[in-house]
Symmetry: C2
Subunit: 464 residues, 2 copies
Amino acid sequence: MTNTPLDQALTFARANTAAHLAQLQDFLRIPSVSTQPDHAPDVAKAAEWLAAEMRRIGLENVEVIASAVGKHPLVYADWLHAGADAPTVLIYGHFDVQPVDPIELWETPPFEPTVRGERIYARGACDDKGQAYIHVKAAEAYLQTSGRLPVNVKFLYEGEEESGGESLADYLPKHKEKLAADIALISDTGILSPDQPSITYGLRGIHYDMLDLIGPDHDLHSGGAGGAINNPLNALCHIVAKLKDEDGRILIPGFYDDVLELSAEEREMLNKLPIDPEAWRAETGAPALWGEPDYTLVERLGARPTLDLHGIIGGYTGKGGKTVLPSRVHAKISMRLVPNQDPAKIKQQFRDYVRQLTPPSITLQFEEDGHGAPASITDYSVPAMKAASKAYTAAFGKEPLFTRNGGSIPVVGEFQTHLGLESVLMGFGLPNDRIHSPNESFYLPNFYRGIETSVQFLAAYAEL
Amino acid sequence: MTNTPLDQALTFARANTAAHLAQLQDFLRIPSVSTQPDHAPDVAKAAEWLAAEMRRIGLENVEVIASAVGKHPLVYADWLHAGADAPTVLIYGHFDVQPVDPIELWETPPFEPTVRGERIYARGACDDKGQAYIHVKAAEAYLQTSGRLPVNVKFLYEGEEESGGESLADYLPKHKEKLAADIALISDTGILSPDQPSITYGLRGIHYDMLDLIGPDHDLHSGGAGGAINNPLNALCHIVAKLKDEDGRILIPGFYDDVLELSAEEREMLNKLPIDPEAWRAETGAPALWGEPDYTLVERLGARPTLDLHGIIGGYTGKGGKTVLPSRVHAKISMRLVPNQDPAKIKQQFRDYVRQLTPPSITLQFEEDGHGAPASITDYSVPAMKAASKAYTAAFGKEPLFTRNGGSIPVVGEFQTHLGLESVLMGFGLPNDRIHSPNESFYLPNFYRGIETSVQFLAAYAEL
């Protein structure tokens, strides 16, 4: 009977699920909301927690790297003793989380992680603490058994994925040698279902913008001024209605100019994925599916750009009524982009068009801290993709399918640009994890199988 | 040298301005916000304060009347010893106030009344505690000097003018005899400028509605669902953009059917009013005037219906960004109506049209507690109008002009319907009082001259 380092690591991982869960709960208790300045100390605390854990399991050169641009820290660690011929994997994850509101809709508090059934409920359970932690546990499984990893590894985890990622963007080009690797490994996506693993090879990009429309310089009474002063809430509706039509087609001039259309082959592959539109709709709870008529659900989500309003602040938001004609309205809005769309160009087109749509009775102001990231496509013929496919097959008992994901992981583009690295997106989320939403959860079998997949990947990649 | 009861009352009013101001400040300290359930005890406290004050000055039959429909109390008082031939005046005011948000924009706290320059700053300073209190002080001036009033008076003050007025609407038809009078006197409007008094003879009506648009049954991530699930915030914008065009013309089918157009004579009279559009705009701080191209500023405000969005609740409203595709959005919206438009019919037209505009991918829900009131026009040839004109002329040294007001005072229509009473709208507000807005204030010379005007009116009305 063989007892390879891989076998030992898998045995360790399977024997320690209770400990892994308890540790993940500690990690999830830290309210590391990166978009809210009040929570900056919590983001720092999550960084320290993670660094301490990395030191404990035997990773080396562990450091919490203060942000050079005044935001949240990074965490770095490595283990580089696999030999000169062994490949090097740069593992990325993020320890910051989304805001929790509307807080009243959480069944259990977002920072008191609670196991119900086969899931753990907490903000960040899936996005991304649970997934980021998987690779730490995989490294531990090797280091605590055979005492070595099959490949060289470098961990680089950030604390502002949900709020622009400026610290990482600043750090990467300044540390190319330190971060040199053969492939990047990122777990911040999902698989199709518990029984059907999948590997994301395409991601949408984003341009996120925030604007204010200002009418009168103070709130007015709608009886006294209604009909003679343009109401910025009404004006906002007119502007937004002209950004995207009711079928989902974006009306910003030039917006589709650079869109890379799907090839017939890729379209066919995507539309063979086992995604049932009706089941997908039912999971969202929406009364009907919706979107560009000429595209299928899978295409709308993965390969088509879109535009969403994320929040409006303006007027009276208390109970009951108030006949205010508000002075100012704030709107948060984003465009999801597809390959070849340039976020900087889209930002310019968006802002030019909104300026053009704003009437002289309204003053328009953009906030400067919008952020952008290009879409990305990863070549799925690289050896690491094959190793990932082999690892999923071993851990899940089924070969993974290749999919596109509608979300944005800006770091994928940055690794390509600054480090010349392709990324393997090894996700373990599920469609009903409710990330970014109340009652976010992580399916625990995917947490445990994720650790096994990571253990398998490191062994498989060493052999390719 | 004569020393008539009128002279004595005027002398008393002029000698007691400091006391009147201090008493008004006590009244203003009570945070009687009627739309917010938390403040219900404060509305009740304001009623008790007012009743105690009415008793103190010598009014009779003072009672705080509990609401028969479970909302806020009314306050009643009378003095009926002017003789069988003397006319009776029903004096109305309200002691509830608007909400205070956005609270951070107040220079001094809304319920810590503060005198700066010639103004007193507080929520309700002008709308309507300051104005309602004027008539109490006028009655006091007579009762504390000659011991009698020149006419019979009945005071009926309410505590929910800002939140639907259901208690008063319930009370009126049940107490026709008790409230019988020759004219109603209401101070809840304004005059053109400190040097140009005016009497409002027309008011707009209102239909106020609240609705929810629901897409998915929980918040989604815009990366994971954007482009395939209709976003209720975007859908709201499409709907609102179709309710009123960008020039202010309302697009609800049938909305203008019953509108009473201005006669050429009335149009001419209104457009002669000394209102400078540029000065009016400058006071609002808006970058430009706006509204239906075929109507002047005065017409847009006083004689044309309009539609305003008052508040939106939906999506992420914290600092920074969040890429949420929100489950639900709530919108508060009202239509100001003009004579002959029926609020119940408008409500039906509005709701039918919004239903028609709502796509199958969105669920629409209306809140039941919208409220409505018809517009009103008061005949300005009645004796009480002449008495009011004479009173303003005596107190301000200038003859008043006749104007329409864009706001809504539902009680005017209810007095007509249930008691057969015309109303004299004897206002003392000014365009820059910022009612319903942060830093509401009342111009103190108008408070003092208002008391004199009320004193003059009671004497003049007795003689007609």
